[in-house]
């Protein structure tokens, strides 16, 4: 039996957050931050293993990471972890049914209760907190 072309939009459809509001943007950022943090985590495990080579090996790695580029990457990692954490808590609670509203007889204009201001505020808070954390991190790293 020939395979039916499902006309799936593909990765472009999954990753395109336009036209659906901030919740879809949060979904995309959650995926991107998760992948970014996983990549950083693996690199961090490898990087910190240089301590087994003694002070010489450790200092060699510090020369790579304690640079302007290294600090900027670390600031991005800080932003990603704060966003992923705060938004993750929102998603965990939402996925358990918390803050999604109560079922009721729908009436025109049929506004969806689950797309409420509580979740929108939580998403914007996650973005703002991530930005603040990044600024604090940059201040600490470049301030020394």
């Amino acid at each position: 039996m020939s395979k039916v072309d499902e006309n799936k939009k593909g990765i472009k459809g999954m990753a395109d957050p336009r036209r659906y509001g901030i919740e879809r943007v949060a979904y995309l950022l959650m995926r991107l931050s998760g992948l970014g943090l996983l990549a950083y985590f693996v690199a961090h495990i490898y990087e910190t293993s240089s301590i087994l080579q003694g002070k010489v090996g450790w200092d060699e790695f510090l020369e790579i990471t304690q640079t302007t580029e290294g600090h900027i990457i670390l600031a991005i990692v800080i932003g990603m972890s704060v966003f992923h954490t705060v938004n993750g808590i929102r998603v965990m609670l939402g996925e358990g049914g918390v803050g999604v509203g109560r079922p009721a007889r729908p009436d025109y204009p049929y506004t969806a209760q689950s797309q409420n201001s509580r979740h929108k505020i939580a998403i914007y808070s996650a973005i703002v907190l991530a930005a603040l954390a990044m600024m604090y991190g940059l201040a600490v790293m470049f301030g020394e």
Binding site: R31, L37, I51, M92, V140, M141
Partner: protein, 124 residues
């Protein structure tokens, strides 16, 4: 590997996701402590060899690092597994993604544990 295969075949998705959420919540507090340790002395100073070595040789901290390693490996590689099985479907593809993620998770945990154990026991 046989045990892992059994676990994978028998584990319902709800159990896997409860572990995913549980590891996330547990690692929030522990990673916060890990980061705060770097801010107590002054960021650059806290990264000096002697200070890092002292952290590893403080056994409760080394234990905490080990727990973070396991929690974040499980959470991260399960997240990767979810993204990959959503991108493409098929029995053999999904099996290889699942086993691949378990293998990668195991390798990262073993490699990181090696660093923690050897350093905390003064073998560097």
């Amino acid at each position: 590997m046989a045990l892992q295969s059994c676990l994978v075949n028998k584990m319902r998705e709800s159990v896997i996701m409860k572990i995913h959420y549980g590891t996330a919540l547990a690692s929030i507090a522990l990673v916060a402590v890990h980061i705060l340790f770097r801010l107590t002395q002054g960021f650059a100073e806290s990264l000096q060899y002697e200070n890092v070595l002292a952290n590893y040789q403080f056994l409760p901290y080394a234990g905490m690092l080990e727990i973070i390693l396991i929690l974040l490996s499980i959470h991260g590689f399960n997240g990767l597994r979810v993204i990959l099985i959503e991108l493409k479907q098929g029995k053999s593809y999904e099996k290889s993604v699942t086993y691949g993620c378990i293998a990668a998770m195991t390798i990262v945990i073993l490699y990181g544990s090696r660093t923690i154990f050897m350093t905390s026991m003064g073998m560097n």
